[in-house]
Point group: C2
Chain length 191, copies 2
Amino acid sequence: MLEEAAAELFLEQTYAGTTIGDIARRAGVSRNTFFNYFSAKSDLLWVDVDAGLAVLPATLADCDRAAPVTESVRQALLRVAAGFGPGRVPWALTQYELMATSSELEASALARFLVQVGLVHEYVGARPGQAALADLAGRAFSTAVVAAAVAAAREWAAAGVGRGELAGYVDVAISPVCAGFHPVLDRVQDS
Amino acid sequence: MLEEAAAELFLEQTYAGTTIGDIARRAGVSRNTFFNYFSAKSDLLWVDVDAGLAVLPATLADCDRAAPVTESVRQALLRVAAGFGPGRVPWALTQYELMATSSELEASALARFLVQVGLVHEYVGARPGQAALADLAGRAFSTAVVAAAVAAAREWAAAGVGRGELAGYVDVAISPVCAGFHPVLDRVQDS
């Protein structure tokens, strides 16, 4: 309801020109009610993405711990991506120009990016036998693999109606990162 | 001069509590003069980083075009990193907490990140025999390799006075990314 009200207003008067008060009024609720659901106006752009990403911690926790850590992370990211089909392109990825949002959208994008990097890094560091890897290589892997997945999501969103499934794009983007870090991060387990 | 005035003021009254007018006044210049040198307050945090990154386009252009593209990018990023020794840690990386800047700092960080990704991606796409790679894999590589370099810079800045040279950190972080993408991006040249 708040999402629909926001969508209408952003299209009518741009993202920047729309206040939280405008959105609450259009939806017929109070500002306090808005803040029961969202912590910032930019959250509205990310509803779909945030819902999709929310499963990452549980997905990582479910991974086979006998597999190399790079492979576990790859599988977890592909499972998260599998939630996004060709008809479910999040608003933050497609409404970029239209809503004149770029600078605030970028800041809210980075905040989300850093959360996912932190989750992957925590997983890499917490794996049995991986404690010593909560270090530079683990941080570089976590950052690079999530960055590659984000690059894939942007290409996918830009690909138009024939885009197919997000997971295929993410696979092409992240598999080389995982392959490159496998000999570095999985040395402990292989020995 | 403007940098020194800003440094004093940010420490005295925080980044958020300091206006461009305050900085110009302390430095004894007009606001117009400020804007001759900087386009935003956040630019002041990035003076050292921006100066270091400014050499990336020329460094990429100078790379040996007979080498694999992933190796050329690796060499170029290491050459840029070589400009940062243990005593030259940019302000944006060290004054994070102190200046209470995080959200604006993150937005200005992302803008710089995307510029560097764009430069690397342009280089990858423009290499002879690489035209078909100005695509998903090229974009994923460019994003991941720059993200890994940024992760390295953060680890380096956090490492304290015994940190040594930035280039060593960047090498550990980006080499696996380059190794992972080598068979994907350099297939055209090898065949």
